[in-house]
Symmetry: none
């Protein structure tokens, strides 16, 4: 991958515009040998036409064979080395819900869960209690204080919340308490360095107080904490690429990862149509737009092949023409990871990518699918190369060396 | 990329011969969507025939999306990591004109330029004064001396010259004085490390003396200095690859980069035909020939699509049969960077490459072009892998490990 410092030294001022259309969980797989993937099944004539004028390929968000989490894959798409920039989900979620996370805060993503009389987990999501119930429980936990630190607690959605500690001398790294299986007790938070001992002790005290308060409130009678981390303070997209970058995303997680690289997160609605309206409304104000579509991934996670096909068709029918009408200089269409309905989960399969610009030197690919993109001139490459390619095609990088 | 030290440990003695035919700025782009590139337009039957017996691919001289300068891209082609081996143009140009640059010399590439009464640049190339005028001005500047260092000044071509300081304790890194725009004054040389302070002061004194002498000699009434650097002392091609390497190139820049890796730079003429004659005359004396063709790049920089096509056709008609007649063991045909007439400049687009040898295991590509090579069995790969591939095909590398 290309070093971000090197890229930042090559950046030249420009007014060109780049759109990254990110279809979450885009990559798929056939349900049976010899079959077609979701993307191959979908009728996407406008995208195939765009592919014919584009350069195509397959990218690996992290590395061949590695199934990406959403945080690392998005960082890679934004050009940040996902192995160097590991960020806990607590940080992503708290940024995502708009919490004003500061440099030395420690954030955790929390789940309400159910434990039996022996303290062993029987449901990791407390029967997926609704958001209103979650808010009610959060309000019961708010009075819990800890010595010398400020405790913030915010509901996210359903059984999810974030917990943030603020104060002097807090530190990671810390282990998670969710054992990721049933029939065992939640784990204690453990410090992975001596500096983190006090923080671990504070978190364990908070958990123990929370447990007392929740004890009789079955099914949400316990909590687990995951992704405990500090904000890593990554350099911004503007510092690295000289881009005024904006994010349009309906889910907190993706707004969080966009904030992590200091994108402006635009207010938008819940639907794809509203996201497109947001793009149009702010077109003049930014150079780079990260437009995130979530529903494809959800259909894949549900194992619903047909629904994923339908959503892909809908996305392309609505979103692609709307983007092209704005006449961007560079359009990148890809996903952050594969979510084949076959596997009902994220997978390691590489992602098809299409890069369109006036200067892209189109290859012979004229269909946007996993198999067709495997023959593209971009080859198979790490996702961290996408931003340098987009910047080059937007004529925003000068040459390297004399 | 493969480490040069590792390669050097695998080298075995051999008498096989490798030719690297380097067509400067070879890669192109269509002038309009759906069109052909320069190379796709050119009729190159003998090269297409060679492609059918070769293995093909696309390479990136530096990295995906990065537009290479000529220095780094040639170093990559010779197998040197271009990010590790950054060399100032002053070094390349002074080596290129045959100046005997020593280990501790500091070299700069100079331009005569025009400034107005306020000292602001109005022409960065002083109206492109001819070489004879440049020599005349250099002779006026030769008397300028500096305390405790030897000053050498050599004309290059037109408005270009090189300045070399020799003496104890000279050091870089140093900033350039050419602001790369009009309407502003040349910048002073600045030291980028404490050791370089004295060198910066000496260079600024030289500039100030030069300015006094040139004051009334409009249009060449000022100078700028670029690419100020020391010779990095790279290991030679012979040390790494065990190759007796020779360079045939008409331009100082490319002779310079060849000298940097200790190739023998053969005297040759100005035309492609003379370069071919030089190759034939020295065929018995070397194992590796770097044959550099410049005119394709110049046509691209001029935005002259048709001329670039014509030159490509001419090169292939003359050069390829002449090379094959010598029966080399390995022939590599590629470019150092793309220079699409569309962009009138170097670009980030990857380069088509063809590698022919008796042992290459030819792929299905039977046309030498950007799009055809995208389907080649070499895939898309970094230029630093070219030398290991050429060495392997010349049966000059033993196996790695037991």
């Amino acid at each position: 991958m290309t070093d971000q410092k090197m890229i930042s030294e090559l950046v030249i001022p420009n007014t060109t515009k780049i759109v990254l259309l990110l279809i979450d969980g885009l990559g798929g797989a056939p349900m049976h040998a010899g079959g077609l993937t979701e993307l191959e099944t979908a009728r996407t004539p406008n995208l195939d036409a765009l592919a014919a004028d584009s350069i195509c390929g397959l990218h690996d968000p992290i590395a061949r064979g590695i199934t990406p989490g959403s945080g690392p894959s998005h960082l890679a798409l934004f050009g940040y080395d996902p192995l160097q920039c590991q960020v806990g989900r607590g940080v992503l979620e708290s940024l995502g819900i708009g919490f004003d996370l500061q440099a030395d805060d420690v954030a955790a993503r929390g789940n309400f869960c159910t434990v039996d009389e022996n303290g062993l987990i029987t449901d990791r999501r407390a029967g997926r209690i609704p958001t209103e119930k979650g808010i009610e429980l959060i309000n019961l936990l708010r009075p819990v204080t800890l010595p010398d630190v400020e405790v913030s607690l915010e509901p996210v959605k359903d059984y999810r919340f974030v917990l943030v500690l603020r104060g002097e001398g807090l530190s990671g790294p810390l282990t998670e308490t969710d054992p990721q299986q049933l029939g065992v007790a939640p784990l204690p938070v453990r410090a992975l360095s001596p500096e983190a001992e006090r923080t671990a002790a504070l978190l364990n005290e908070w958990i123990s107080r929370a447990r007392e308060i929740l004890a009789d409130l079955h099914p949400a009678n316990m909590v687990t904490l995951r992704g405990l981390d500090k904000n890593p303070g990554l350099p911004s997209m503007e510092e690295i690429y000289g881009l005024r970058a904006a994010a349009i995303a309906t889910y907190p997680m993706y707004r969080g990862v966009a904030k992590l690289v200091c994108m402006e997160v635009l207010p938008t609605g819940e639907t794809i149509e509203e996201e497109v309206d947001t793009l149009k409304a702010h077109w003049a104000d930014y150079d780079f737009f990260f437009l995130h579509i979530k529903k494809t991934d959800s259909a894949g996670e549900d194992g619903n092949f047909e629904q994923k096909v339908t959503i892909i068709e809908h996305v392309y029918e609505i979103v692609v023409p709307a983007i092209l009408q704005l006449e961007p200089d560079v359009v990148v269409v890809t996903g952050d990871h594969s979510t084949p309905a076959l596997l009902r989960s994220h997978s390691w399969h590489p992602l098809p990518i299409l890069l369109y610009s006036r200067h892209c030197r189109a290859d012979a690919v004229s269909e946007f699918s996993e198999r067709a993109c495997a023959r593209g001139a971009l080859g198979r490459f790490p996702a961290t190369d996408i931003m340098p390619l987009a910047m080059a095609n937007a004529l925003r990088l000068t040459k390297f060396g004399a």
